[in-house]
Amino acid sequence: MRGVGVALGAILLAAGCAAAQGGPPPPLPVEEVGFPPVHESTLSSGAHLVVVPWSEVPFVTVNVVVPGGTVADPAGREGTATFVARLLQRGTGSRSFDEIAGALDRRGISLAAAAAEEWTTISLNATTPALDEGLEILADILVDPSFPDDQVDLTRTQARTGLQVQSSRADAVADRAFTRRLYGDHPYGRLATTTSVSAVERQDLVDFHRRWYRPDGAVVVVAGDVDPERVARRLDAAFRGWEPGSKPDIDFPRAPDRTRPEVVVVHRPGAVQAEIRVGHLLMGGDVEGWEDLVVANQILGGGPPGRLQQVLRGALGYTYDARSAVTRQRRLGVFRIATAARTEVVGATVQEIFEQVERLRTRAIPGSELSDEVAFLVGSFPRSVETPQQVAGQLTEWRLIGAPADALESYRARIAAVDTARARAAAERWIRPEQFLVVVSGDAARLQPQLRALGEVRIIDTEGRPLGLSDLGVGPASEVFDLSHLTPDTLTYDVVVGGAVRGKATRILEPQDGGWRFASVIQAGFQTLEQELVVDDALEMVSSRNRMAAPTKEMQVETRREGDRITGRAIMDDGPRPVDLSVPRGVTLSDGLELALWGSRLAVGREIRLPVADVQEGVVETVVLRVEERTEISVPAGTFDVFRVSVSGRDPQTIYVRAQGPHVPIRMESASRPIALELASGG
């Protein structure tokens, strides 16, 4: 965007060097980024209005920012603010979900809402002729959402599924643990969990909306093809009836003050790769000298040319990617380094991170390194303010952290003014290794010895519960299995979801290579899950093949055990990645649990413990099978005398097996999801 600009040419020309013969040409003089005047006013509802007129294309972005974000979630119901945001456009007092969706489709309008820590942003994108209708719908969903029960239920299910997916990813596990420990009791560290989102009720949403979706303290940012005065009038008309209210105070206790490094390991048994996060809190708001720190950070870990990547990937080969970032919000900011490394080099990686930080803080930065990074920051900035959406987004963000109105316009000049002395001084002042929080997710038994030189190593599980060193081992199976007396069999099951039959499943047991091939296929709706496990006669895994297929996506994992390692390849949405796990003797996969029961002698009260690998998530755990009672159940194949067996572990379930051996599975039900398999034929 051009208007009044700030001359930069001289500064940057100095950074460009003359071209070698036949080499790339040197930079031309820099063109200016300018912004049209920003119009500020107060709407009659009390909301603050910021308008940036920009008429290149007939398109407008409106961001409405209301106070109240995740920090305002009721205790134990974390996730409420996000629910409210997601449900706004699912129905209002005067419009159904279908009516809203139909009107948006008809005019090519898009609406979205998301909760951040201290506020929630509702964004409207529309062409100029569709703006008035868009504003009416925007005002309606903002002021009068109805939170229909069925939509609340749907959102709760989606949120739970999303969190379950997250908890299976090593990087997300590390991120969540880092955030929690970093903020301590400060509400920025509050995160939704499957328990907290399950507790959210419709009334919580109504209350949250009534309290926080208020015009006092709200900011409306408009960028695009509008006349500032006309859009103010339209907003006043659309938002009539939006009344100020009294908002509760939120208590912001002090975040933890660290005076020495804190080390936390999130235990993922058997993992051979670890995710590493290192960092600490920074001051929040629009702090003096922020650009110096931005440049220093860019030198340390701004992508491939950054020092962390050059050293940890290039020189040492410990990792594929290592980056650092500085971010800031109204009250607090964060400095954070993120990387991943093989288990055996985690200690060395963390040590190298400390060394690179120290080098940045204490040694002079070469001039050419600084000018390259400054040129990158200055050069890439204009791409982030090209469209009205981007401009509105940037203005909103800068406004909310309390930056002055011209901060965006002068950003490039302020970056270009940073020199080597200022960048180094900023690193020394802001980045404090003695305050580092180090969070590593991986196999704690192998990580603890590497990390203890940094200080006491606290070990927790993925739920945040403390673990002792004695809890870490995954031992061999509690008994030796003998499957040699089994006979081949084919069983079919109905897949029952929420009480209705939604698919079919089969289990095929057949001899292979002196052991058994146990193939299972589940087809429900449009998805198919195929698993094939080959075991020897003692139930020990030989190889496996898992495949999940749907029309537009597919995941596939193939593995093989050799000695105390399971290796193979997983092809996920984001491409192939290797599987490599170290495992105890007698290891099997989750399907092997059924075989363990099938081939054992069972009686009420019996417990079987065995190591189970999850090859997709890359972890091993001890699973306990306990025969709880003898009872009778009816399934499509008939009524059976059964043992009810509880199955512990990451995916707890109940398996009913025939009481008379061989103990074939009659019914299997998940403890966490409303899904069950019921025997339909065979057995």
């Binding site: 031309l28 820099v30 139909g102 090209e386 029309p551």
Partner: protein, 442 residues
């Protein structure tokens, strides 16, 4: 009070897609150049399209255009290994490449004061690329892996290629896939690659589009400096025209088993005329009316009301010499392919008999015009749009008139194109079936 004319009222509310300023010129060596100034943000999109794609590959050399796209990121005389990526990235820019049946595209977006870097690097790649044996072997393996990942290992991906194979069985240029066959890729040699480079990567087969905060005059000077001395490439045989559409020789049908598929899928593809044909305008509106948004005809009928399909899509695949109107639908469990075909036929017949409602027409027009506006919001979007115009129409001139012409399309136009093209004699049906499972046969 004077009455306001209805037309004027309509005018004030109508979405006007803003015109793009255009400067075009051609160098003596045949390089065509389009510059569109946009001084709103100090960035520039530089996009080079070579008018060579999989359609130009001779028999036994499928996948070559795409393989060469990969090679064009390797060394040149002025840029050693990895320099291109490093130079563009360090300047604050981004880059990419893409290949389809008709063209191979290379583009960058970067600060406008580095437009010279982008232009220079394109000249390097056009004239001074080093096609080494090692790079060739490496990139051939990368492409083979890409084929394994994107085609051989994706449910239903092979069937989309089958649609082309069957629909264009009498038109060789469009019969094979862009990514090519494993055998052809394996048989390719570095000498083939060098010949291909010499013949096709020449100024007379390329179009350069520059959009952003630059002056057309300055761009022209730089283009003359970097490209002016490059020699013309050999003239190449012009592709023959595709057989006329709509075909009248009857429905073509193939049923195939996809080992990765778990449920059937139905493709219905109707051949269309070349991209420049005016019937593409009502056809574009028809795809919106049939399958964009929850209230579109096919979605409402097949997914919501009848619960017969999990998903349904409609799209037009436009190419320089022909096109396809493509419908795809995935039945829910227990619903057969015949039922899906029956429902698609019924809805098409309804359009062919009765046309569409004014409300549907207006919604479809709003969606397409909104798309036209957002496409023109970024320099990258505008550069690709102008390239498409040169490729399809031979010049970018119509780009500023075309959006408004959506207003001229009537319900009768849509009825007419549905009745003309979407008929059994002109279609290819590919039904994908999952493999029969061992055991009880479900």
């Amino acid at each position: 009070m004077a009455a306001v004319p209805v037309a004027a009222q309509h005018e004030s509310d109508a979405l006007v897609v803003p015109p793009l300023p255009l400067e075009t010129f051609r160098l003596d060596n045949g390089l065509r150049v389009v510059v569109s100034e946009d001084h709103s943000t100090p960035i520039v999109a530089v996009e080079m399209w070579y008018h060579v794609g999989s359609a130009h590959e001779p028999e036994g050399r499928s996948g070559f255009a795409h393989l060469f796209e990969h090679l064009a990121f390797e060394d040149t005389e002025g840029m050693a290994d990895g320099d291109f990526a490093r130079l563009i990235t360090r300047a604050g820019g981004v880059y990419n490449g893409a290949t389809d049946a008709d063209r191979t595209a290379f583009h960058e977006v970067l600060p406008s004061n580095r437009v010279n870097l982008a232009l220079w690097s394109h000249a390097e790649r056009m004239a001074r690329l080093r096609v080494g044996e090692d790079d060739f072997v490496t990139q051939r393996e990368v492409v083979k892996e890409e084929r394994r990942l994107r085609v051989d290992n994706q449910p239903y991906a092979a069937s989309r290629l089958s649609v082309d194979t069957v629909a264009f069985r009498d038109y060789a240029p469009y019969r094979h896939s862009v990514v090519g066959s494993m055998d052809d890729l394996e048989a390719a040699s570095v000498d083939d690659a060098r010949d291909f480079y010499r013949d096709f990567y020449a100024p007379n087969h390329a179009v350069l589009v520059v959009v952003g905060d630059v002056r057309a005059h300055d761009v022209r000077e730089m283009v003359e400096e970097y490209f002016g001395d490059l020699p013309r490439g050999p003239e190449l045989p012009v592709l023959p025209p595709a057989p006329p559409t709509p075909r009248t020789d009857g429905e073509r049908r193939r049923t195939e088993t996809d080992r990765l598929a778990q449920l059937p899928l139905v493709w219905m593809a109707y051949t269309l005329p070349p991209a420049a044909h005016p019937d593409h305008r009502p056809l574009a509106l028809l795809t919106q009316i049939l399958a964009t948004g929850e209230s579109s005809r096919l979605r409402r009928r097949m997914v919501t009301e009848e619960g017969a399909a999990l998903d349904v899509v409609a799209q037009v695949d436009r190419r320089t010499r022909a096109g396809l109107f493509l419908l795809g639908a995935a039945p829910v469990e227990g619903v057969g392919a015949e039922r899906i075909e029956g429902l698609l036929d019924e809805e098409i017949a309804r359009v062919a008999a009765e046309g569409v409602t004014l409300a549907e027409l207006e919604a479809a027009r709003n969606q397409l015009l909104t798309g036209a506006v957002t496409e023109r919001m970024t320099v990258e979007g505008k550069a690709a749009l102008l390239q498409r115009y040169v490729l399809f129409y031979g010049s970018p001139d119509r780009v500023n008139q075309d959006p408004a012409r959506f207003h001229e399309v009537t319900s009768e136009d849509i009825r007419r194109v549905a009745a003309a093209y979407l008929v059994a004699a002109n279609r290819t049906v590919v039904v994908v079936e999952p493999p029969r499972a061992a055991g009880d046969g479900w």
